[in-house]
């Protein structure tokens, strides 16, 4: 019994990345075009060649979509990035305060198991820090409609430089720690970057799902 050869599919991760950087209408047409050309190249030159082409095109497309966001709405993008920056400045040490408040409330040496205390001190602050960044990423993305990932990525890239510049020029209680513990500063920045982008991805995906559900022009299976 013969089975029909399954149609080769374009790289899902690449397609998902492209969908993150554009509006749902842009993603629909761009991903459709990429899939159409992928099938064409796969039938002529093989799947491996088509995959390479798809990845190259996806990365170029992401660069163009990100650049286009900056060109078409520079001020609104700058506004939401500034909002995110202010939110981050609003309570820079919130994670530490939350963990200290938890530890004080639990009276660690009497009620809390020592292992839990050590775990909270070691991992609690980074975890609360990531949650804080995810929430800020969500707020920024909510205001940056259609440009969620560009806004949160820009914020996460600009913030470390802005903080570094601020500490160098103005100083502050963390200024010395940046030079004494540069690796910790870097870890916190990477953690912030991941948290902010996760927030952006979450809001973008939520909007896509809601958009697909309420859109009459694009069927629900269109992006499967």
């Amino acid at each position: 019994m013969r089975h029909a050869t399954p149609r080769p599919r374009p790289p899902r991760f690449g397609a998902w990345l492209v969908s993150l950087f554009g509006s749902s209408q842009q993603a629909e047409s761009i991903l459709g075009d990429l899939a159409e050309e992928f099938s064409d190249i796969a039938s002529k030159s093989g799947v491996a060649s088509a995959r390479r082409w798809h990845w190259r095109q996806s990365l170029k497309t992401i660069a163009y979509l990100a650049g286009s966001s900056f060109r078409t709405a520079p001020w609104s993008l700058a506004g939401v990035v500034l909002l995110g920056f202010l939110l981050r400045r609003f309570d820079f040490q919130l994670p530490e305060r939350i963990i200290v408040a938890i530890l004080r409330a639990q009276r660690p040496y009497s009620n809390l198991h020592y292992g839990v205390y050590v775990w909270l001190v070691t991992y609690g602050i980074p975890i609360v820090g990531i949650i804080q960044m995810i929430l800020i990423g969500c707020i920024v993305a909510a205001f940056a409609k259609g440009r969620e990932i560009v806004a949160t990525t820009t914020l996460s890239i600009v913030s470390p430089f802005a903080f570094l510049l601020h500490f160098l020029l103005v100083g502050g209680q963390w200024s010395n720690s940046i030079f004494i513990f540069p690796s910790r500063f870097l870890i916190i920045q990477v953690e912030n970057l991941v948290g902010l982008v996760i927030g952006g991805v979450f809001v973008h995906e939520l909007r896509s799902v809601v958009g697909r559900r309420f859109s009459s022009t694009s069927p629900w299976w269109a992006n499967k």
């Binding site: 047409s29 075009d33 050309e37 095109q57 170029k60 497309t61 992401i62 269109a222 992006n223 499967k224």
Partner: protein, 111 residues
């Protein structure tokens, strides 16, 4: 939109490709038309960034086609040039012609 607006080089190329393709202008065909006629490799992203900008200026209009299986169930977005777009192409061509008129480009290149 001011009627003194001229098209950028790539905007000009994309508009001409859409005009040539008539009713069949969508991302894939526009990209292939440009690559075939200009021997210049362009990405889908560049085409859409430009077409979106031209649509915002009122030079092209788009409509959605039907979804097809080879496109993973996604629909095509067809483009057509508006009267404003045709005027912009003519204006830019006139400006280029006026600027190149009387120039000895062969001699200028060799000197």
């Amino acid at each position: 939109m001011s009627n003194r607006d001229y098209l950028g080089e790539f905007e000009h190329i994309v508009l001409l490709a859409v005009l040539r393709l008539n009713e069949q202008a969508y991302g894939v065909t526009v990209r292939r038309e440009i690559e075939t006629r200009t021997r210049r490799e362009v990405s889908i992203g560049a085409i859409y960034a430009t077409l979106d900008r031209l649509e915002a200026k009122g030079y092209v209009q788009s409509r959605s086609g039907d979804p097809t299986p080879e496109r993973g169930g996604r629909s095509k977005r067809f483009f057509r040039v508006t009267a404003q777009g045709v005027s912009a192409v003519n204006r830019t061509r006139r400006a280029l012609r006026s600027l190149t008129e009387g120039l000895d480009l062969v001699r200028s290149r060799s000197s």
